[in-house]
Amino acid sequence: MSHNQNHPKIRIENVSYAYDGKPALHDVTLDVPANAITVFFGPAGGGKTTLLRLINRLNDLVEGTQMSGRVLLDGQDIYAPGTDVPGLRRRVGMVFALPLPLPGTIRENVVYGPKLAGERDQTRLEEIVVRSLTQAALWDEVKDRLDSPASALSGGQQQRLCIARSLALSPEVLLLDEPTSGLDPISTGKVEESLFELKQQYTIVIVPHSIQQAARVADYAAFFLMGDLIEYRPGTEIFTAPRDQRTEDYVTGRFG
């Protein structure tokens, strides 16, 4: 089940999770390698998003949940008492299913995280704006209107802005939860292209919005069904020669 990797960036260890006693994840163990795109896929309600949100402790914001097991980032348990949670979230960025620009301008959106982290130097903030927007493949489209409201951008641009906003913190890991679910095919293509660029530097975990997208981007893919991790292997194998019958049924479109 776990992949051969000397030094996993993220290690999920026997994680079970429940909302108000309703189980969402059941004894999940997997290693996420660095500098690759790992995909969590499967039908709705499988626990993919829950697992994603456990990796930067965003689920802390939800009340009435129960968790067991460990999540390790570079070998450190991120749920250990005394963990600097905002610091963790700077290392592990998150892009949501719907583009959610914060109120304010494009520039303000990008520098929001760095400013909270205490960056005040205007030159460095300016560098961050250019770098993150370039990495998110948005720079050319917005360089002349950085001070116009973010809400005026198109949906696809907004989502790339959200990616840039996460990249502004230079995270080590980037989590993406169906980042292209609301986008047209062209914007989707742009987002996916930027992911291929980004994986040189970042560890990427993505919940794709379709099985086709999963197959397009995955270096490694984990198939989740009803809170169980069914199969976890390199993408080239899992989509062409799945080992588990349930994975095969899902990949070939028999259900889901």
Binding site: E63, R89, L102, L116, S166
Partner: protein, 281 residues
């Protein structure tokens, strides 16, 4: 044809009920303006009352009301907004917080004279502040708090949860999210609540009756521990307690109070629409 007739009758009835609401307001405002406008002069606004309050101006009452409103604002705004932030952003949903919310809703419905008696007991007598601007402001503040807290809490809750999640995901603490995103977005609603509360405080008579209001004090107060005249109470006094008061002075005083309150309202609307234009969701 019958359906159209029904609709027609319906419209007329609805129109009439609207008229029923609007006409009395226009008549009251109109009467105050018509009978009161003659009294308004520079002297009326800036001079001390003379001749058993039948001549001169109402300056100390205007200043008193402004001071009381200011004192109320200083006491009630931080506490009210703080309480609202706690209830909307931090407090978990327990029986205790539900009890607190219920209490706040009920407090808003308590008759103002009860607040007056409470203020007399707590601030004037027990805390020994005497009948003073301080005691009156605090009493008015307590009366205003439920309005500020509940409208501010509502405005905070109206800000989409996702903004808080996004802020947290970018390494923001809960407070940073509130401070940078939630509060600015909730500001128009909070201002509305604050102004509504302060308007009520500015126009109230009962809470200041036992705690601060002076029957006749033809000079400005020198410290927050002194009594002061105030417009609503002054209006009550000259309307019921002083025989032979010229009609014009009564309506003039009412007009000043009305304009004061309405202009605060206008200021609030301007501030609100300014903030709302900057809101982007």
């Amino acid at each position: 044809m019958n359906r159209y007739l029904t609709q027609h009758v319906g419209f007329i009835l609805l129109g009439l009920s609207t008229l029923l609401v609007v006409v009395p307001i226009l008549v009251v405002v109109g009467a105050i303006v018509v009978w009161g406008a003659g009294a308004i002069s520079w002297e009326f606004l800036t001079a001390m009352p003379r001749g058993g309050m039948k001549a001169g101006g109402i300056f100390p009452a205007i200043v008193g009301t402004l001071l009381l409103t200011l004192g109320t604002a200083v006491a009630a705004i931080p506490v009210g907004i703080g309480g609202a932030i706690y209830l909307a952003e931090y407090a978990r949903d327990t029986w205790l917080t539900r009890a607190i919310r219920l209490a706040i809703v009920n407090l808003a419905g308590i008759p103002s004279v009860v607040y007056g008696l409470f203020g007399l007991g707590l601030f004037v007598l027990f805390l020994g502040l005497g009948t003073s601007i301080l005691a009156g402001s605090l009493t008015l503040a307590i009366m205003t708090l439920p309005i500020i807290i509940s409208t501010a809490e509502e405005s905070l809750r109206a800000v989409p949860t996702e903004f808080r999640t996004v802020s947290a995901s970018l390494g923001g603490t809960r407070w940073q999210g509130i401070r940078n995103i939630v509060l600015p977005q909730a500001t128009p609603g909070i201002i509305t609540g604050v102004i509504l509360g302060l308007l009520r405080a500015a126009g109230e008579t009962a809470p200041i009756l036992f705690t601060v209001a002076a029957f006749f004090l033809p000079r400005l107060p020198r410290s927050p521990l002194e009594q002061t005249m105030a417009l609503p109470y002054h209006l009550y006094v000259i309307s019921t307690q002083v025989p032979g008061m010229p009609l014009e002075i009564k309506y003039g005083t009412a007009l000043v109070l009305l304009v004061l309150v309405l202009s605060m309202n206008v200021v609030a609307t301007v501030i609100r629409s300014y903030f709302r234009r900057r809101r982007q969701w």
